[in-house]
Structures are given as C-alpha cells and as structure tokens.
Amino acid sequence: MATIHVDGKQYEVNGAENLLEACLNLGLDIPYFCWHPALGSVGACRQCAVKAFRDENDKQGRIVMSCMTPASNGTFISIDDEEAKQFREAIVEFLMTNHPHDCPVCEEGGHCHLQDMTVMTGHHSRSYRFDKRTHLNQDLGPFIGHEMNRCISCYRCVRYYKDYAGGTDLGVYGAAANVYFGRPEDGTLESEFSGNLTEVCPTGVFTDKTHSERYNRKWDMQYAPSICESCAVGCNLSPGERYGEIRRVENRYHGELNGYFLCDRGRFGYGYTNRKDRPRQPLVAGEVVTRETAIAAATAALKGKKVLGIGSPRASLEANYALRGLVGAEAFHDGHALGDAALVQLALAIVRDGPVRASTISEIEGADAVLVLGEDPTATAPRFALAIRQAARGKGKALAAEKKLAEWQTIALADLLQRDSYPVFIASVDTTRLDDIARATHRAAPEDLARLGYAIAHAIDASAPAVSGLDAATAELAQTIATALASAKRPLVVSGTGAGSPAVLQAAANVAWALKAKNDATGLALSLPEANSFGTALLGGASLEAALTQIESGAVDTLVVLENDLYRRAPQARVEAALARLKHLIVIDHQATPTAARAQVVLPAATVFEGDGTLVNYEGRAQRFFQVFDPTYYDNKIGLTESWRWLADLEARSAWKILDDVTAACAQALPALAGIVAAAPGAAFRIDGLKVAREPHRYSGRTAMRANQSVHEPRQPQDPDTALSFSMEGYNGTGSLDRPPELTPYAWSPGWNSPSAWNKFQQEIGGSLRGGDPGKQLFAAGAGKPYFGEVPAAFAPRGDAYRVLALHLHFGGDELSSRAEPIVKRASPAFVAISRADAVKSGVNGHATLAIDGAQLRLPTYISDTLPAGTIGLPAGFAGVPFFVHGALATVSGG
C-alpha cells in the first residue's frame, strides 16, 4: 500500500501501479493514448502529463508522464495544475496537426478515444494552417479497414499485434514525423486476433470492415449483453443492432474470461443471423403457414406417436430442457456428433469431479509452464491460445521483479526477456498456430500423444500408470516436460476433445492430477466441441448413436430436432437412411440446414441475438445471453421466437410464460444445474425502479425508422423475459453500485464513449468487474479421483487404409460463423493432408480421391512433413468435407 497526494487530497493506492492507472482507479480522469491496461506503458504519446512535486513544500514541481511514474508512497502530484493542463492541451493540438478532422465521415466517430481525450483536454480550435501529411491505405482483408491519415502514432497497434498476439505481418515503418503502421504490403492480416485492432487503436485507423457496409454510430444501435457461440470459452460480447440487423460485435469486458480481447471468429462471425435464406416464418410441407397451423401440424405429428428428441450443444439450456420436457427424459438425446458425446461426458467428469478445476483465461495467462496435449487451441478454443501467449511472455514479469522493475514497464520487460519465455510444450497431430512459442513440439497420432501424456504423468508421480514400450526420444521428451512442469510454480495442462480421443483427455487429466498432488496451483483447461457442450451434457441425454439406432429399427414415428443439423453429426448415408424411416420430422432452427430441408414442419427459431437463454462454458460457468432486438418490430410477418417458446406451445405448457419460468424449472429438475438461476438477475430486477436500457440515451430516429411501413410509430416492443428494455428509456448509468455486471449491454460512461469506458465498470483497472465477473460457477471443488489407467497401445499404420484425423482450423470449421460471409472469405478451401512418404506410396499428387464412411470425395492435397505416417488429415466441419467419425479409416488414391 502507498499513500499518494493528488491536488491536495490524500489517497491510498496499492503502490505497484503507475500514477495514471492509480488515478484512473481512483476515478480521477487523466487523458492518455499509448497506455493500455493490457499493454502497459511506453511513454510514447506524452498525453498523460501531470505535475509532480518533491514534497508538500515544493511549489514549483515538474511535468512527468503519469504512465511512466510509479505511484509510490509519498508521491505528490497535481492533475489540475495550470501548466500541466496547458501541456496536455498542447499535446492534443500537436497530434491534431496531422489528424484529418474527418469525424463526420470517420467510422470511429462516436466511440473514439481520440475524440473523448480531445474533449477532456479542452482543445477545441486549431491554429495549424499548413498541409497535413497523408498516407496511402492498405487492403487488409475482409475484416479490417485501414485509414492511416488518422494515426496519432501511439504504437498501440504494433504492441498489441506483434508483442501481445504474436503476429508477424504488422509493423511500423519510417521515422520521426513520418511513421506508417501496416503490413509490409497489401494483404489479409494473418493473426486470428486481428479484430482487436479496431478496439486497441484509439483512432479510426483500424475499423471493422464488416460494419462499414451497414454502418451506424454507436449511439444509434441497440445492444444486449451477449455470449459468443463460436466455441466453448463463452467470451462476452456486446452486439449492436439497427433496422433488424446485427451490425457489429464488440468485446464486452469480462475480467476472468475474454478481458479486452476476442478472436476474429467470435467478432466477425455474426453474419449468420442476418442471412436472407433463414427460416423466418413457420413452414409445413415447404409452405409458409401461420403459427397456429404450424403448431397444429406439429401437435398432430406428436400426439400418440413414438417421439424422439435430439437437442443441441449450440442451443440454450432452456431450449434443450424444453425439448426434454416435450419428449420425456428417456427420449431426449444430446445433440453432439457421433463420438463427441462420450468425449464431452469424459471432459465433464474430469473438470467437475476431478481434483483440478478448469482454469479461467486469466489463470491461463498466469501459468509459468504449459503443456498442450492434442489440441490446436487457436482453432478449438481461440482465446486459450492468446492467453497461452501471455503465459509464455509472463517470464518478463518475473525477470522484472528480480530487478525490482514494475510490471507495467513493457519496454524494459521486453528488453529483459529478449527471446526467452516460460516453457510451452505442444504435442499435437500436426503443426499448430502456437508452434512459434513452443519450447518443443511433438507430432503423433492421438494414441501416441496419449502415451506421451501418460509417460509425463508417470514421471511426475510414480504412482500414475507407466507406459511400456516407449521409444527413447519420446521417453526423454516426457522426462523433459515432466521436469519443467513439476518445477513450475503454476503449471498448466491444456487439452480437449479436438483430437477425438478419450485417451488424450485421460492422459491430460493424469498429468494435471499428478502435478496437483505436488502443487496446488496446477491448472487445467479443456476445449470442448461447442458453446453449450457442458450444458447439454449436464442435461444428461442419450447419445446420437442411440437415437439413430432406435430410428433405424423403425420404432420411431416422429423426430423433433432442435437447432441441429444432423448432417454435421453423422455420415450422410446414415442420416438419410434414418430420416427415411420416420413418419414425421419436426425441425426447430434458425438456419436453413439440409436437415430442415427434409422436415415436414419447420419452426423458425431465434438466434443468440434474438432470444435469451443460458449457456455453460468449458469451466462450468453458466452465463446468460440476452436478446439484442425484436425482429418482429420491423416486419410483423416474421414468425420466429425462442425455441423454448415453440416447445412450450407444442406441449401447451401454460406455466412457462417467461424465460425465468423455464430456467427455474430446469434448475429445479436437475440438481447439477441448480445454479443457473443465479447466472444473471431475472426479469423482475430493477435499478431504482428502472429496467436497464438497451439503447444509449442519444439513440436517434426512433420515431422515423418504421415510417416506410406506417407513419404511426408503434409502441416499443416489450420484453417480459428480462430486466432490459428495448428503448433508451431505462437505467443507463455506470455509477450505481447496484448495477449487476451481467446487465451491461455496451460500454459507455459520461465522457467515455470508446471501449476504454470499460475502465469505469471495473473494481480495479484491468481486474474484475464491479459486482464480480459475470456468470455462475456450477461445479463445486472436485475431490480426488484415481488416475486413469488404460494406456492405449501405440498407433500402428495399416497397409490398406489411412486413419482419418480431424484437423481444426480457426475459420471455416465452426457451423454458425462459417455461414457468415466475411468468415467464408477468410477460410481456406477444403483439402486433405497426407505425409510425404504416404503421398509417394499412394501416388497422390495434387489431388486425392478418398473413400471414407461410405462417402467418396476428391480433394486437393497438402503434403505435410509433420503428419504421422499412416494418417490423413481432414479439416473438421468444413464445407465440402463430409462428416467422419473419430478414428474412421479411409482409402486414398491419386488423381
């Protein structure tokens, strides 16, 4: 602790921060540009100047940069000092000499840190009368726009992209008054985390290109607290809507999960909700019908029939629970793909019942030795990958501490660190996008990855099962990794369902548990197939295999499929044969999938942006997502609603009026889910009698926006389900300590319109949100669990067929985001990977023809120098690659 004196007042601060951070924490505003809570201080912009005094008697003082000065005990400063004020205003004026003053046509306008800081310093008229320097802009690909003239040279972009996110294709060029931030040449930014540039850059240089074509000012959009559905991390989002379209997704700060940063799949993958080909009205036999007709048709297909239900790991708990209610617990099936359900159940048992609980993203960032077993996290749980990079870089902080340097001295930390890092070991089926930070990499088939894991666990704790017949090199690697993990203070194991192998999960658990016995600070993070994988697993449905078997036997009349495309879950021939045996198929979904095309009744569902519900992420954290807008307000022909509402209507359940009723019923029926009610405040919650406003108080044009249909403005949509209003009327402030962090639709605070406003919602800058980070942890501390003991036999290539391995890619494999246009542009076409030796052996060159699970396909080939012999790799979930089960065999021929 330290006492500092600011403008004659005394404050207690923690003593480890710099003055800028300390003052912001105290609620005292100092303008700044180059400092960022996640990027530290470099002292580049000189905007954060304050007057520092030697002691209370020093009346003269001197100007210092608050971001570069420690808030140590006995510091005397003045923010209000006249000279400091003039200095800060002069700095903005200097920055503005080259800034184009093009706010009216700049997409940053209205959520711009530069605007906010300029207003804060009081600079309002310019005296510079000469030419401004101008730059050419680059085409940076489908996600990010580039307008270099607006740059103020704060260096945040390169510090984020290069130093924080490990990108190599964005740099800073030139010197002095002529510096340029961009790629070496035009082309798509390669990092999977490039979208954060739009929030990191305090000006309009980097903006969201997906927003450009349907642009609105921040204050003219409607928001809700939302959750990303593109992986099981569950990053918090703030999506903005206008005229019935989602127009942009921004980060919603969460201290333990996403922090300030999202991945590009999560940020730019929202377009599936705007697709024109979505079912928006109920269909019976392909014809648009009324809601009543559709319900009557569906009810007729259900009444007195043998009914099965298939749920979905991409649908809310409430929707899945409602389906379970409709069809009965025994007839409810977890909607995971063949093979995945068992993996998810295993992951659940490890995380919930084992001694090591899942690490948060911020805990991953704090690890000091990492083993990645069987995953490419950049694809399967992207936010893990960005966090693992911070773990590796974390050694800089330790080195700095030895030298008594503050953590925020980023340049000094980087100088100390050079190319050193905390060790990261990556064992995976092929190269990963984290290999550049790996101390060692190992490529092998899943069985052999598991064997490596088992051997590491045994080397750490001799009572863990040993592996026999390991070759010398692998045994030595196991020993190296075991030594590094066992000597670490905060070791971490990252694995997941990506390798499609229970043995890999078990081996990863053994390593974590062996470490845990020695070190309580051991961490574990398992990636899962989908956003609500744990949620559906906790509902405890039977597997898709069981459902298909029953249908195939002819014992099922009617199948109800909830937000699921069976063609992505099982081989096409099998799905087709099964569907042909049904009398009725009812599909509730928001996408026009091949499964929906086969249905007699299609009930149009709400996407995550159009409805409310609860998801359970990889940690077992239940999080509520809220409806951003009501699509029927703009077009009353639209007949979509939340899936749970359709299901409640099919069952004529009058007790379920609002979401809270379903959430409560689900929590009551399933003790494992008892906590979900507490994931967010219910519909009755009010602040000073007010609902929380979804629209900023400056929202404009409301009375006119439906004028093309009728000049009479209808009543705003009412929201019975939540404590949020579809209006600018309602609670909008940040000051109230009563505001629950789960109910913050967008970042805004008086004077702070940019994403920097999140600082006003935090307990301390860069830490937890006031009131605690959103969500409710469902898992109690786990108990000890015996080691897994089934060490698999080593993988043996077969002469006649190749083992098919799932290769996960960041873009193109996730179902919903890959229905968004910019993601399609960014994804690579389908391919098959094969090792060099096997390519020669099978005569493959350029293209290969595969026969797999009864399907035949021809794909371009990639020769890999790392893929294990006897295997081929197929991009999982890709358009043009049919579903294949884990461990499937394929025959390969050239041409």
Binding site: T168, V172, A175, E190, E192, T378, T432, L809, R826, I863
Partner: protein, 180 residues
C-alpha cells in the same frame, strides 16, 4: 490451390485462410547469403544483425529491393514487417534505386546559418533535380542529411563516403566532376 514451394510442401497451420503464397522471384546471391550468415555468427539473437544484413544487400545492389526483405528476414528469423521497420527507420538504407553517387547535403542548424540554402539551390539548379530525386542519366541522387559533425567548416555535404566542407556556390559545382 498452389503451395508455398516447388516441392508442394505446406504447413497446415499456414493454411489458415491465407491467400496462396506468391512465387518468390527474388533470390539473394551466394555472396550476400554468405556475408549475412557470417554476420549472424556475431550475435546470440539474429535480430541484432538486421542492419548489417540490410547494408550487405545494399552494398551489392546499391539499394534494398522489396523482394529482398522476405529472404533476409527469414535468414535472421524475424518477420518481414519487423525488418522493413528497421529498413525504413534508417534514412541511409535505400528502399528505392539511387544513382551511382549519392549527394547528402547537411541541412542541420549550423550549416543552415552559414549558407546551406545557396548550396542546395545551386545543386538543384545544376543537376535539375530536388531532394529524393535521381538525375536522368542515373549519375546523382540528392538527399538531405542530419549534422555530419563538420559544423566548424560548414556548409558541408557528403558525396558517397567523402566529406566536403567550406562549400560555396562556386566550388560545389566543380566537386561533382570527380564523380563520373
């Protein structure tokens, strides 16, 4: 789809939505490679050799072409963006072709006080070019430079590696004759 190198090898991780890599026509000469490799042995971290590596290529070619960045960066073990940052930071690493001789006129404060303007104007008039330009015959490129440490003998300039001092509009024209 094309692969990154002739033998059709591509790392899967490199596939992540990247546009197919262009063939790389630029090849460093054996001499350049050899000298850069030698330079790399001097430092534990190859990054430290960035400037020297650029200077080596400039020595052989007179300037550093765009295509050279990628192969140099690969030898050093950094990204082309980082190397380009170094290359463009230093004004004496030329990123455009220059003439056979480069005239660097000191435009810092002392020379400014003692007649820099006239020297500059004379050179521009005689050569018919301004700063950043090269004569049509490819003989001279004209550039400004920061103080070259000859303030007591200003105005001063450098042609290639030679320092010339105590310049006047009269004697400066004659100087050029020594640089064919």
């Amino acid at each position: 789809m094309s692969a990154t190198s002739q033998d059709n090898v591509i790392k899967l991780a490199d596939l992540v939505g990247r546009p197919a890599a262009k063939p790389e026509p630029f090849v460093l000469s054996d001499a350049e490679k050899h000298e850069i490799e030698h330079e790399l042995t001097h430092f534990p971290d190859g990054r430290a050799a960035s400037i020297e590596a650029l200077k080596i290529v400039q020595k052989h070619r007179g300037w550093v072409p765009d295509g050279a960045l990628e192969p140099i960066a690969r030898m050093i073990g950094i990204g082309a963006a980082e190397l380009e940052g170094v290359a463009t930071f230093y004004s004496l690493i030329y990123r455009q072709p220059v003439g056979r001789h480069v005239i660097k006129v000191c435009d810092s404060i002392t020379c400014f006080l003692v007649g820099y303007d006239e020297i500059k104007a004379t050179l521009e008039r005689t050569l018919g070019i301004g700063y950043g330009q090269t004569t049509a015959d490819g003989r001279f490129t004209l550039l400004p430079i920061c103080c070259i440490g000859a303030c007591d003998k200003g105005p001063a300039l450098m042609i290639d590696d030679d320092l010339h001092t105590d310049l006047t509009p009269q004697n400066v024209v004659g100087l050029l004759e020594a640089y064919p």
